[in-house]
């Protein structure tokens, strides 16, 4: 038997380097450098307006949809080490690899099946058998299949809020993304639906890398491997979740996670 190394260094999925972001004159992100590891959950925490959602939305170039947004720096996506923020990179190509789940469930005005199949159709997959197979896999992975398998043709709006959010997760998973961004995915849900989504994220990290923004520190503590604390556009502290929550190095981090502000 060959000796195994005690700890395998975690593999990088993405690396932000000196990321700066401006909304008009407002400097929303200041020189942020942060790694995102493969098959791990990285959580971004911080009070409202700290820039965590802004940071997340850089990863799929969502900011390109709006004028007056400027950004600089790099986000390298591995294994091919491509800079997602480069002007030469088509934002649509970025979104083909990095998918996103939003704060509020946003199913499209279509059937359950067509919602889950949306990204596949965008990618030119229109064969019925292939669509059916991938939609089923995605719905199984999003823990929704058993609830909807007999009513795939019903409008997605008939589902409950928690089911709609899991459908949005299925939609994001169907395209086999390399990285999934979650922008406060449970903030519009009740505690039971929240618990099922958290459970789901823990299963998903076996397959994909996850970057999640959350308002809820317990959530970050429960699901994530690594946590970054942002405050007023600065990255204050980053580390293993179990260390950051137990023994924060920074006074501001400590104040925030103990609920003294935020």
């Amino acid at each position: 038997m060959t000796p195994q190394p005690a700890t395998t260094p975690p593999e990088l999925k993405a690396q932000a380097r000196e990321l700066n972001f401006h909304y008009g004159a407002f400097h929303a992100l200041k020189n942020i450098s942060l790694p995102v590891y493969n098959e791990k959950i990285t959580a971004l925490i911080g009070p409202s307006g700290c820039g965590k959602s802004t940071f997340l939305r850089c990863f799929n170039r969502m900011h390109d949809l709006y004028p007056d947004n400027r950004y600089g720096g790099e986000i390298r996506l591995f294994p091919d080490d491509v800079n997602l923020l480069s002007p030469d990179v088509d934002p649509i190509e970025v979104r083909m690899r990095v998918s996103m789940v939003f704060q509020k469930p946003n199913p499209f005005p279509k059937s359950i099946f067509e919602n889950a199949a949306y990204g596949l159709r965008v990618r030119g997959i229109n064969k019925k058998a292939e669509l059916e197979e991938k939609v089923e896999t995605a719905l199984v992975n999003a823990a929704l299949w058993n609830e909807v398998k007999d009513r795939l043709q019903e409008p997605a709006f008939n589902l409950s809020g928690g089911q709609q959010q899991r459908l949005c997760i299925a939609r994001a998973l169907a395209i086999d993304p390399e990285l999934v961004l979650f922008d406060e995915p449970t903030s519009a849900l009740d505690p039971i639906a929240t618990a099922s989504i958290e459970e789901l994220m823990l299963e998903l990290k076996e397959k994909v890398s996850i970057l999640i923004v959350t308002h809820n520190m317990q959530q970050a503590a429960r699901v994530s491997n690594n946590t970054a604390f942002l405050f007023e556009g600065d990255l204050i502290e980053y580390g293993l979740t179990k260390e950051l929550f137990v023994k924060p190095h920074n006074k501001q981090t400590e104040d925030y996670i103990t609920g003294r502000f935020g």
Binding site: N60, M96, F102, F108, V122, C168, I175
Partner: protein
């Protein structure tokens, strides 16, 4: 302060007067609508006392002013339906395309430039459109179809279509802009292009508003008078061929109203029956539109 204080009493009286005034203003429009309905129905009943309803609905000629009078409303309806269909075949694709462009593609600056221009198009008097159809569009069409008569439904319908484009595009654009941004972002995040997002997410999400735009356009086209009166000819003609001249319900009413028919003649009474028919047709469109809005309304 006691409520019997003179100042309080004065205020209450003043408020009461204002409220009554506002109520009267609100009631007046309802009252006028009912008055119109009353006149239309009453005069139509006089008409149907002389002309059986069956003949009105099934006769294939409309010659109320001739000695051998016929009262087949279907002749006028064919003209109304044909010009409306021609108009909608122009207005719906063009109006929707413009709405999609303004709502989903145009920069804010461009949008603020295009919208007022479109609204000016909606403010051009319809009689001007009528002459535009007769003097410009018909001669152009005659270069393609040399046999086209000087008065025809095609030219009138096309121009009427251009005329209602601003109505359709403006209501549609409002409906599409009301679709919440997070729905669009969902589609963009999946890698959809702007066009795909517009067609597969925004348009279905705005469907109830688009249905409203469509019914508004229909009602406008059905009731439109001057363009068809000027450019489509006023001969009643039972045909659905847009290359033919024909009279519509509205243009017939204009024709008779402008003439000097005695008030108790049957010819005079026909305009009320025709007017009632027109009202019923637009009512049907409005009911369909209302139903579509209810059925497809989505809450986000």
């Amino acid at each position: 302060m006691k409520s019997s204080h003179p100042r309080a009493r004065k205020r209450r009286i003043k408020e009461g007067l204002i409220e009554t005034g506002l109520l009267a203003a609100a009631c007046s429009s309802v009252a006028i609508t009912f008055a119109i309905l009353y006149i239309l129905v009453k005069e139509s009943l006089n008409f149907f006392a002389e002309v059986p309803l069956f003949d009105f609905l099934t006769d294939t000629q409309w010659t109320p002013l001739f000695d051998d009078a016929h009262f087949g409303i279907i002749t006028l309806i064919s003209g109304t339906v044909t010009t409306t269909l021609v108009a909608l075949s122009v207005a719906v694709p063009l109006g929707l395309t413009i709405a999609i462009y303004i709502s989903e593609f145009a920069s804010p600056r461009l949008r603020e430039t295009i919208k007022p221009i479109l609204e000016i198009l909606g403010a051009v008097p319809t009689v001007v459109f009528g002459y535009f159809a007769l003097i410009v569009v018909t001669p152009l069409l005659q270069k393609i179809y040399p046999d086209l008569p000087g008065f025809n439904m095609l030219s009138a319908g096309l121009v009427m279509g251009i005329m209602i484009v601003p109505y359709i595009s403006s209501v549609s654009e409002d409906a599409m802009r009301a679709v919440p941004m997070h729905l669009r972002e969902g589609a963009f995040a999946m890698g959809a292009t702007r066009l795909r997002t517009a067609l597969t997410v925004v348009v279905p999400a705005a469907f109830s508003g688009l249905a409203a735009a469509l019914t508004l356009g229909c009602s406008r086209a059905v009731g439109e008078t001057m363009v068809v009166a000027v450019a489509a000819g006023m001969q009643p003609n039972l045909t659905m061929n847009p290359l033919q001249p024909a009279a519509t319900i509205s243009s017939f009413i204009v024709q008779v109203s402008l003439g000097d028919l005695p008030h108790d003649s049957i010819g005079y009474k026909t305009i009320f029956a025709a007017g009632l028919t027109l009202l019923l047709i637009t009512l049907v469109f409005n009911v369909i539109g209302f139903w579509l809005r209810q059925k497809f309304r989505e809450e986000y």
